[in-house]
Symmetry: C2
Subunit: 346 residues, 2 copies
């Protein structure tokens, strides 16, 4: 409904707080209008959103809990990481035509008032597709870097286990581990994903956790000498099985616990004594605490890309209206690789 | 039954593996005989045991599990830390009249073959009672030091919570925390122990966990801004309540989980997501991995003793035959302070 110099702006509105699994109807498409100019004299940036990122942590924002990111506001758009093009700017750090990545509303156009330098980052390196900044070069890429390289202190020859291994973060952790000279095994929820892990991402081995009835025994088979590093994306019974199989002085980087996000009552983990028995260090982290390391990460990644050492798989759906189903699909494992929504063509 | 130059040697024999709470009848007093000389040409040391240490970890040795210390052998004496006097030695590192601390059998006299330098340590500093080497200057003291100073990286002004706080380890952790300029609260299981924490050990505050029906709410009251360091001795529901109350970037040193040792099925901890939300580092340790730090620890402790900065409470029972009940008492909280058994007078 453009009036005057306004044009229509499709948006996805967060309906209300939920419990249990999110449904498509929790996210309501609507159409507003927006002026394609920043207010005179303002510090704002007007963005045309190109790619939206679907990430598991967003489930936490659908519940009014004391999570590490603020909950969504009912009646306002869903928000999340995205890649966008600057179409107008009153801010000295951004100009028309710049590409940026950061947090925006799920909408075609976003007006960002007083952007924080860490919340909206300019994209300078464009030898890779822009969508990579929702994943391998964005928040999930940094997450893999922080959890693996910064927290887990990996050493050549160590044994690494990654759960949810074909996702945006997991696929990169596995590749980092191989580049370090580690032995790495991943788990995922379908034959297709397991094939990807073994044949595309170069994991030494992989298994479909849905086909295993005794996860502790499965892990014992893949890690007869124990797991030195576990990159935790899953939680619950998987964590319990891992604890039983940790090697002495093992490290667990706790990135997420996707198996628990939609449960009314989380599963209890009953063998934490293994932390003592095996002298394990288990550490939770939030990637945004570590964004000061982004330039260092980016340099490393450029080098890897130049040498052709990284592969990356995205699962892209078309159109803002496809975003709710894509987000929900994360929790049933529908996506194969990083889930991206293309809102506009570049 | 002394024959020739042998004399009688009372011992406490481990009957058989158990499940659930240990009972006195699991430890059987018996009398053997022993020659008070080391075998000709051997490397052995013959000890007269003065003080035995009762420690919670010993429960783990009563079950044939893959714990961090080997299980006791049915039919052989219970073994544990003790302070002893050398009465004969074929070993160049020890001579008659030396006092030592280390691991021996629960018996009046122990013959130690080829003592490992880390398993039997000579006592040089004797300005404090010898029994201190079963506690504040022995394994439990080092445990407090490693878990607090080495792993938890304490800083002045931080908030510290200690469970099982009046025990051998807890009482010292609280004092270390006060010496660092931290705010420290302890919990214990009786009014008498809570009084000790507040009035003798100098904790800023303390509570009786048995009188609290909502541990998470209790901790919230004592730590409105959250817990920076938790020294974990208890596990289970206590750990769950603590996780809910951790401050950002908190540290948990996992020393023990005494509430779980006698359960057939350990309690599940269902809020490990808090590790992420609060960016918590949780680390299990075994003190013996850190014994190379003992000289540094001892220097620090001597200094504290000279300046009169440490207090220490022992609960001493008399006679080897009292040892089984004393050990069992740890799991019902019968002891007040470090549980010691005096076997012989010095």
């Amino acid at each position: 409904m453009a009036t005057g110099d306004e044009i229509s702006n499709k948006r996805i509105i967060f309906r209300d707080y939920i419990s249990g699994f999110p449904k498509e109807s929790d996210m309501v498409p609507t159409t507003d209008s927006i002026k394609l100019k920043v207010p005179e004299g303002s510090n704002s940036v007007l963005l045309k959103n190109l790619y939206l990122s679907c990430d598991p942590y967003m489930r936490g924002r659908m519940t009014p809990s004391d999570s590490y990111v603020p909950a969504f506001t009912p009646g306002k758009p869903i928000s999340g990481y995205a890649v966008s093009e600057v179409i107008d700017s009153g801010n000295p750090n951004f100009k028309k035509g710049d590409y940026v990545w950061g947090i925006v509303g799920w909408e075609q156009y976003s007006l960002i008032e007083n952007p924080h330098p860490m919340a909206l980052m300019k994209i300078d390196y464009t030898d890779v597709p822009l969508s990579y900044y929702t994943g391998i070069l964005g928040m999930p890429g940094m997450t893999a870097y922080v959890g693996f390289h910064v927290l887990a202190s990996p050493k050549k020859g160590e044994s690494v286990y990654v759960s949810a291994a074909s996702g945006a973060v997991g696929q990169l952790v596995g590749q980092f581990a191989k580049l370090m000279g580690c032995y790495v095994v991943g788990s995922a929820g379908s034959k297709e994903k397991v094939d990807l892990l073994k044949n595309k991402f170069g994991f030494d081995d992989a298994f479909n956790y849905k086909e295993e009835h005794d996860l502790a025994a499965t892990l014992k088979r893949y890690f007869p000498k124990g797991i030195d590093i576990y990159f935790e994306n899953v939680g619950g019974k998987m964590l319990e099985a891992v604890l039983t199989n940790m090697a002495l002085h093992g490290r667990i980087s706790v990135c997420g616990m996707i198996s628990q996000y939609n449960l009314e009552q989380p599963e209890g983990v009953n063998n934490l004594m293994q932390l003592i028995v095996k002298r394990v260090r288990m550490e939770g982290f939030i990637v945004s605490d570590h964004y000061h390391l982004y330039p260092k990460f980016l340099e490393m990644m450029k080098q890897h890309f130049m040498e052709g050492k990284l592969v990356y798989v995205e699962d892209t759906v078309e159109g803002l209206e496809s975003a709710p189903a894509a987000l929900i699909g994360l929790f049933t494992g529908r996506n194969v690789g990083k889930q991206v929504v293309r809102v506009s063509h570049e």
